[in-house]
């Protein structure tokens, strides 16, 4: 049983999704029960896997018992276990929030939600480059449909851009995988790392072309500067629980960059070592600057949060660009914080919009809110955490990032990161004071929010104090993760025990 645990994060949402497709309309209670139960079960599985991976041992699951490099393997190390747990925590908050009524605005919400989880979990676990493409497609197909959930002009507009861009991205992904397969003759990432190390010099150009094309694809998912224009509109128009789940989608791109370039193009890759580093570093800084401007310019709370996601993408990529174990450790800590907090803020924006009636989430004067005080408290916690002010988790994450920068990197990163923090702070305090303090006079009307929604938001935003309270264990785990990533040889030896003899 225990050795099969690794495949559960893929199988569980798949089975749950099939059960949920049983009937399109009706059976609301049944669907909600199955979906929430499956997500909570996923959380328990993820906790079990994290405990298994925390020992530092790398375990893998060979599907159909076909051993690597011939079969497809699911690999569990510290990083993938952490990402699985993060996805599950986020999903529990989002799915409970959706049970308040968002799920019935269109058909098949819960089934698609589970399949989105299937794609995300698969992308985190797989050890095979083509399989990564397949899981990317699974999560994208689910996300296309989820983005359209509920319909409406703005969503369809945003979807057209999102779908077309991602289809072009998928073509690029296939070309890149094809080039890498043609040059190295394998698709297994661990095997590819060995082949790249032994590559003849004439194929260097081909492999680096393939590798940089992969960077474009992952950059499109992660939303790096020239490729981020789809994000604000798509995230701002998506239904709230979907937008919250999308908070992990950009992190799938970041995970893929981290995984592929630390494993395949690590220390042993010779001339090709760290070929992505200059690109990622400079583009991350440019992303930070552009996102800071976007945050200041946003006139809608949801758009503001979407730009805050971009700020976090820039910060995380800068961590990859620094390419030291210390920076990777800092970025993983920041990644946990930013995923949960921005997810929570998307949910909170929806609640604020519901209470304000016609004014919605636009940052203008509106009618007073029924539960304004409680919402304002949550907004305060979320805003402080995301802007990076003590005492909440954002401050810790940013301090770790700043501390990890060395030499001339400080010269660029410090001012940019601190200025975007300032921009976020200004934008958030402006938004908060308009939303909560500058309301029209008049009687308070509107209905109180459902308990599911409160649970979803508090569940996600409680990460802000919790990550600080448990900063010790969390950061020692992220440090161990960064060390494991810096030594890909362990993973390669686990997957391919015979590889040492061949060399």
């Amino acid at each position: 049983m225990m050795q099969h645990l690794i495949v559960f994060p893929v199988v569980l949402p798949l089975v749950a999704g099939i059960l949920l497709l049983y009937q399109r309309q009706g059976l609301v209670r049944y669907k909600r029960t199955v979906s929430v139960a499956a997500t909570v079960l996923l959380l328990l599985v993820a906790i079990g896997l994290l405990r298994q991976a925390a020992s530092g041992e790398i375990t893998y699951y060979a599907l159909g018992d076909w051993q690597a490099p011939f079969g497809i393997v699911l690999v569990l190390d510290r990083l993938s276990a952490l990402m699985l747990l993060l996805t599950a925590v986020l999903a529990v908050g989002a799915v409970v929030f959706a049970c308040a009524g968002d799920d019935e605005k269109g058909s098949n919400f819960h089934g698609l939600f589970q399949w989105q989880l299937l794609g995300i979990n698969g992308a985190f676990l797989t050890g095979d480059l083509f399989n990564l493409f397949v899981f990317f497609e699974v999560l994208l197909l689910a996300s296309y449909a989820l983005l359209l959930h509920g319909g409406g002009k703005a969503r369809i507009q945003a979807s057209v851009h999102y779908v077309v861009l991602n289809l072009a991205g998928s073509s690029l992904f296939l070309i890149a995988v094809g080039i890498l397969y043609g040059a190295t003759g394998t698709l297994n990432m661990a095997d590819m790392a060995i082949r790249v190390a032994e590559l003849s010099a004439e194929r260097d150009g081909l492999v680096s072309a393939g590798a940089l094309m992969l960077l474009v694809v992952f950059g499109l998912k992660a939303a790096i500067l020239p490729l981020y224009f789809w994000l604000p509109k798509a995230y701002a128009s998506a239904p709230a629980p979907v937008a919250a789940l999308f908070a992990i989608m950009t992190k799938v791109g970041i995970y893929a960059i981290l995984r592929v370039y630390s494993l395949i193009f690590g220390d042993s890759a010779g001339d090709l070592e760290a070929l992505e580093q200059p690109w990622v570093w400079w583009l991350s800084l440019a992303t930070l600057a552009a996102a800071g401007v976007g945050v200041l310019a946003a006139r809608d709370l949801r758009l503001l949060v979407a730009y805050l996601v971009l700020v976090s993408v820039g910060t995380l990529l800068a961590g990859i660009g620094m390419r030291s174990p210390q920076a990777v450790s800092a970025l993983i800590y920041y990644l946990i914080h930013t995923t949960l907090i921005t997810g929570g803020l998307f949910l909170l924006a929806e609640m604020i919009g519901l209470q304000r009636g016609k004014a919605g989430t636009r940052i203008v004067k509106g009618r007073p809110m029924v539960q304004g005080a409680a919402l304002a408290m949550l907004f305060f916690v979320g805003a402080i955490a995301v802007a990076g002010i003590p005492p909440f988790s954002g401050a810790f994450g940013k301090a770790l990032m700043l501390n990890a920068a060395e030499g001339t990197q400080r010269l660029w990163l410090w001012p940019l990161l601190l200025l975007t923090s300032l921009a976020s702070l200004i934008a958030l305090s402006r938004a908060g004071s308009t939303l909560f303090w500058r309301s029209h006079r008049g009687t308070i009307s509107g209905t109180p929010l459902s308990r599911c929604q409160w649970f979803g938001v508090i569940w996600l935003l409680s990460a802000a104090p919790l990550l600080v309270a448990m900063a010790g264990p969390v950061s020692s785990y992220t440090q161990a993760t960064a060390e494991q990533l810096a030594n890909p040889q362990v993973l390669i030896r686990t997957l391919l025990p015979d590889a040492g003899d061949a060399q």
């Binding site: 197909l141 057209v160 779908v163 289809l167 998928s170 296939l174």
Partner: protein
């Protein structure tokens, strides 16, 4: 044969890219389809082009690399599903927004 194959792939990619960058949804959909054809051909050629090779393993020399074939098959299936989805999406955008421009603009910017 290599030259012909490379030229076909290249022309398909170029046409697909050009059409994808157009302003109306129909050319974009056709462009994405051409792009996926080009990608399938490209993937297929990555195992190396051989003529008269055995389809499955044979005694002695030359058999075709089975992996690119499997990849192409997967890519075709996914490509079909995606094309079907994008066609439906384009039709819904046409009916909701009232025109077939990708940005939903009223005026004709072609």
């Amino acid at each position: 044969m290599e030259l012909l194959y490379a030229m076909t792939t290249g022309v398909l990619t170029a046409s697909g890219l050009y059409l994808t960058l157009r302003g109306r949804t129909f050319p974009v959909v056709v462009g994405l389809t051409l792009l996926s054809y080009a990608v399938n051909l490209f993937l297929f050629s990555m195992g190396g082009l051989t003529t008269d090779g055995a389809a499955i393993v044979s005694e002695g020399a030359g058999f075709a690399d089975p992996l690119p074939q499997a990849l192409v098959l997967t890519a075709i299936v996914i490509g079909f599903a995606m094309t079907a989805f994008v066609v439906i999406l384009a039709m819904r955008a046409r009916s909701e927004v009232g025109n077939d421009h990708v940005d939903g603009k009223k005026e004709d910017r072609e």
